[in-house]
């Protein structure tokens, strides 16, 4: 039987799925940067056509980006369903068949009994067929590690929720759903990266290559908090972008030529009156100016936190430790992100720059998340380290012996 455990092809496939997701995030970024999220008013159809049969001649203007985003999302959905089947092995077939039938049933139910939910009905039916097919194949393969299986099932659920959110954002004309859709996309990408990591040979050899070390300096907590700060920053960024108000503050590093911009009603009214952008975005509000200032301050905090992570890991683990190396790369990513943020403003929110800013943000979050995951594998609580070191000689050798004893 083919083994999913330590199967390099599974890890490569997971990585491929993660890269496809990053491409999908980039496409979604383009859609928002160009403010064409509503260019296809119906879902999951496109201007009344089945989305897979929508004539290419009609992929004009904003439709090109939004429609392509939906098609790539479908591909990612199929990839994730297949990943779930592969990761969880033959034992996943029955649950997949049951879920597929339930989704198919729910889809038909919506189509027949709730015409207002027609779009969701078509979506559920379609995904039900894909899930049913995934559960109905004959491939015999052993599942991956139990934790990885759980992650795969989580990805399976999240990709469908994401699809539904994307559709509902359009049919309900609701920007707040768009913010949630954007934030969840980042988490979903991190999840796929984690699956790729945890199914890799490198991960399998990690404990033997680097003996667990006591985390006497709170490195795990530092990495976790910094990663959470980045996620908070991404939510801020998504909130700003989905206001569709363009640049709430048109200059950098100052804000309306001041360190802190006036945010009273008269000033905000003046900012709006003075804006003569051909893209004619939504009016600026004082809240949006506040969000933009918070985003700038957060960027500074995150940069300091990431530099601290790089310094601390290098100081306490050594420059050759993977945590130290990847923390240094993290600093580079955040620096690039800050530069991209500035250029986004200086270029009057050019779509390609703004989208690259989104993509690098996703990579920064994933980098931090994976660093945190690795830190929890190679660093142990000081209390546990003490217990380990005081174990009597007659007891079996504890885990966490120096690397020299590993095969």
């Amino acid at each position: 039987m083919a083994r999913s455990v330590n199967n390099p092809w599974l890890s490569r496939y997971a990585l491929f799925t993660a890269i496809a997701t990053l491409a999908l995030i980039a496409l979604g970024g383009v859609v928002t940067s160009k403010d064409v999220g509503m260019a296809v008013p119906d879902w999951p159809n496109s201007y009344g056509y089945n989305m897979f049969l929508f004539p290419v001649s009609k992929w004009a203007g904003g439709v090109l980006y939004e429609h392509t985003h939906r098609l790539v999302a479908t591909v990612v959905g199929v990839l994730v369903v297949a990943l779930t089947r592969w990761t969880c092995g033959r034992i996943a077939c029955k649950p997949l068949i049951v879920i597929g039938l339930l989704e198919l049933g729910a889809g038909f139910g919506m189509l027949h009994y709730y015409p207002a939910l027609k779009g969701a009905g078509y979506f559920m039916s379609g995904i039900g067929v894909v899930v049913l097919l995934a559960g109905s194949n004959w491939f015999q393969n052993k599942p991956a590690a139990p934790l990885v299986q759980k992650l795969a099932w989580l990805a399976f659920a999240l990709v469908q929720i994401q699809g539904l959110l994307g559709g509902l954002r359009v049919v309900l004309h609701d920007d707040s759903i768009g913010i949630f859709h954007a934030a969840l996309a980042q988490l979903f990408f991190v999840l796929l990266c984690a699956i790729a990591l945890c199914t890799s040979r490198w991960w399998g050899n990690l404990s033997s290559a680097f003996a667990p070390v006591a985390d006497n300096h709170g490195l795990r907590r530092l990495l976790l908090v910094t990663t959470l700060l980045i996620f908070g920053q991404l939510i801020l960024g998504a909130t700003i972008r989905h206001q569709h108000a363009g640049l709430a503050i048109p200059d950098f590093p100052l804000a309306y030529h001041k360190i802190w911009p006036p945010m009273d009603a008269a000033s905000v009214s003046l900012y709006n009156q003075q804006r003569v952008d051909a893209a004619d975005p939504n009016p600026i509000t004082a809240l949006q100016i506040g969000l933009q200032m918070a985003h700038r301050l957060f960027a500074l905090m995150i940069f300091c936190a990431v530099v601290l992570c790089a310094w601390a890991t290098r100081r306490y683990l050594g420059a050759r430790h993977p945590l130290a190396k990847f923390s240094l790369g993290w600093v580079g990513l955040i620096f690039l992100q800050i530069v991209l943020g500035a250029v986004t403003i200086w270029s009057n929110k050019a779509a390609d720059i703004a989208t690259t800013h989104v993509v690098v943000g996703a990579l920064s979050l994933a980098n931090g998340a994976l660093l945190t995951v690795v830190s929890f594998r190679v660093l142990i609580s000081p209390c546990v380290a003490v217990q380990t070191s005081t174990t009597p000689a007659s007891s079996p050798a504890p885990s966490g012996q120096p690397a020299t004893s590993a095969k």
Partner: protein
Amino acid sequence: MKINPRFFIIPALVAGLQAATAADITGTITLSGTPPEAQVIDMSSQPACASLHTEPLKTQFYVTGPNHELKDVVVYLKNVTGKSTGPSAPPLLLDQKGCEYIPYVSAVQTGQKILVRNSDPAAVPLHNVDVTPTAEGNKPINKAQMTGASDIEISFPTAENFVRFKCDVHPWMFSYVTVVDSPYFSMSAKDGTFKISNVPPGKYTVEALHRKAGKVDKEIEVKDTNVKLDFTLEVPAGK
């Protein structure tokens, strides 16, 4: 039972008297200050749209005449509400032609029909009509409109300034419709002139409202003769 025609004499007399004493408010709107230059709209990504114009399209934030007359100003009686005759008023036509909305700025009454039409040729295969009002009671709309499709009918029950109509397929396409709760409004033409007709006698606040030049209010009293009322709006002070 036969109705005595004499019962209608007094109401008819009153209506006639009111019509006889109603007056028009006319005037001219001018702009003070130097407005920013109109920007050329980049249609290079959509050659089908670009080919419909002999000259490049430009933004229309400030449309002025040779003597600083200002177009696209909504002039209306601010303190008159609940007098809408919108449902019986002729519909406003918003036409998508040459990948632009015509007119760019307009005004209607609450309940008055707006017909959104796609007059573009088949080379421009589709538009979507994305309307995002903010006043409570006015619902957002997003509808597909292919070439040759029937008109989309919209109306708004709540007064609101500059409701935005947008095409997400062609991101430069906008139109702004101000919804007023009475029939007493007008739009300034390219020569800056406006006319609010048949205003009953009384004291009013007249507001002249422009998307970028802001607003100016003036108090007037209408008696039985036409009233001349000019406005000067200002380009907002520089940064």
